[in-house]
């Protein structure tokens, strides 16, 4: 070892000087480069981890929100379908009611018409019967040439009306 030290001129002063220079470089790099950079790297790494955690959290929130929105949308769809059905039912019921009312009204109008027609017919018929009776009595009186009593007139009138009524 001694020979090696002599051949390669290893001596304490030079060795110590080199150690001191190395320590100076170490101090400088550690203080100004590796120290701050390591801190920055660790800080950046921490931020990235936080960002990743936030991203995962946001992703989860988004998934939850999407699920929630889906649920709300589904509920809204169901409600809308229900409302539409209710509206349709209500419309159908109203239409049916109106139709029934129209039918009833129409029936009432028809009934009224029939009633009026019947009354009119009865009136016409009564007038007809009266006129016909009167004509039959007059004709019978002329044909027979005798004056008909009131009873004859009533009987002939009655028979004529009966014949008409058949």
């Amino acid at each position: 070892m001694g020979d090696i030290a002599k051949v390669f001129h290893v001596d304490w002063p030079t060795l110590i000087a080199q150690v001191v220079i190395l320590l100076v470089v170490f101090a400088v790099l550690n203080k100004f480069a590796f120290g701050p950079v390591t801190r920055l790297l660790l800080e950046r790494r921490q931020r990235i981890e936080e960002a990743e955690a936030n991203f995962a959290q946001s992703k989860e929130k988004l998934a939850n929100a999407s699920a929630e929105a889906g649920k709300v949308l589904e509920g809204a769809n169901a409600q809308a379908a229900r409302l539409i059905k209710e509206a349709q039912d209500a419309a159908a019921a109203t239409a049916e009611k109106k139709r029934q009312e129209a039918i009833a009204e129409a029936a009432a109008i028809i009934a009224k018409g029939r009633e009026a027609a019947a009354i009119e017919r009865d009136q016409v018929f009564a007038t007809l019967k009266r006129d016909f009776g009167r004509l039959v009595v007059e004709t019978t009186g002329k044909v027979t040439g005798k004056a008909l009593t009131s009873e004859d007139q009533a009987r002939i009138n009655q028979e004529a009306v009966t014949q008409i009524s058949r």
Partner: protein, 336 residues
């Protein structure tokens, strides 16, 4: 003697290879040219970092982006090896070592580094370590003069020795050894802090593989022996770390100088020498760019692995064996 660390074995006899001195040389007083280079690199790093991080913003721009990119990349690499728990404490030193070594390696490739200096006579350089050892060795071997031996070891060419003003820090064993020693001190601190002294002893000498009962005690001597080997390897870590880095960068410097001076050494004229100095080292500059980042990476990676090996908590893996390596695999979070 299996290893010969003598000056003769370590000196480089070829004049081409000896173009670069094996050691850093003093430029004024005790200050060597590698110290000058290290101080300049220190200043450049300080200047750049101060400017880049003057007003740090959460969203970076310009130079801050560069600093943050480097820091983030290194942090992720360190974290992948040593684990999430130890990373914040191990990162600053490992990143500093990487950046410092890388910038030093690349500054060694700048024009003028290792090539601008002054010529010095042999006599004036006699006090140099390599010369002194060479002189000792030469006196023991007949036919080898101290002058020639010292010249080869120190990089002379016979007409005097050029001492460069600047020498890449990594091409000086003092520099690489300083890195390794500082790392080992931090390694001891981290290990004791993480597993404690007893935990380290158990980790090193204790039975591994989840053995139980008789077999555990039967194999205990083997594990103790393996632990002793481990201790020896730990003791030699600073040496291996520092010599590996030094050897690679010094070899690169030597290669570039040798290629630059090849035409002259082969006896070509001035014009071929001129073009040779430009063209021949050029491919090797690209190689050295690669070696520069590779050696910085290897040094830092080994340091990180040493930390991981000693700070992994085996007991938390239960009886499933020594899975400490798996613990540091990318994506594995420490469950300490």
């Amino acid at each position: 003697m299996p290893f010969d660390f003598s000056a003769a074995a370590l000196s480089v006899p070829s004049p081409l290879v000896a173009a670069v001195s094996l050691t850093a040389e003093p430029v004024f007083g005790p200050v060597t040219n590698s110290i000058v280079m290290a101080v300049i690199v220190c200043g450049v790093i300080t200047f750049f970092v101060r400017r880049a991080m003057k007003n740090p913003k959460l969203v970076p721009d310009g130079r801050q982006n560069v600093v943050e990119f480097v820091a983030e990349f290194l942090y992720s690499q360190v974290e992948a090896i040593v684990g999430k728990k130890v990373a914040p404490r191990a990162f600053p030193l490992l990143a500093t070592i990487f950046v410092f070594v890388l910038v030093n390696n690349y500054f060694g490739l700048l024009p003028g580094v290792g090539s601008i200096g002054w010529m010095e006579d042999h006599g004036a350089h006699a006090g140099h370590g390599a010369h002194a050892v060479a002189a000792e060795h030469a006196s023991a071997e007949p036919g080898v003069t101290a002058e020639s031996e010292a010249e080869s070891a120190a990089g002379g060419h016979g007409e005097g020795h050029m001492i460069p003003w600047f020498r890449p820090g990594s091409a000086d064993l003092n520099f690489t050894l300083a890195l390794a020693l500082v790392f080992m001190i931090v390694w001891i601190w981290l290990t004791v802090r993480e597993v404690g002294i007893w935990g380290f002893i158990v980790h090193t000498f204790g039975p591994k593989g989840g053995l139980q009962g008789f077999i555990k005690y039967a194999l205990l001597p083997i594990f103790i022996f393996v632990g002793l080997i481990e201790i020896v390897s730990i003791i030699f870590r600073p040496v291996s770390l520092s010599l590996r880095l030094f050897g690679n960068i010094f070899a690169g410097e030597t290669l570039l100088h040798a290629m630059g001076g090849l035409m002259g050494d082969l006896g070509f004229g001035a014009v071929p020498q001129f073009f040779g100095k430009i063209l021949l080292p050029l491919p090797f500059y690209f190689l050295e760019l690669l070696v520069g980042v590779l050696q910085a990476t290897v040094f830092t990676l080994l340091c990180a692995v040493y930390i991981q090996l000693s700070t992994a908590h085996d007991e938390e893996h239960g009886d499933h064996g020594d899975h400490s390596h798996d613990d540091a695999a990318p994506g594995h979070a420490h469950a300490h």
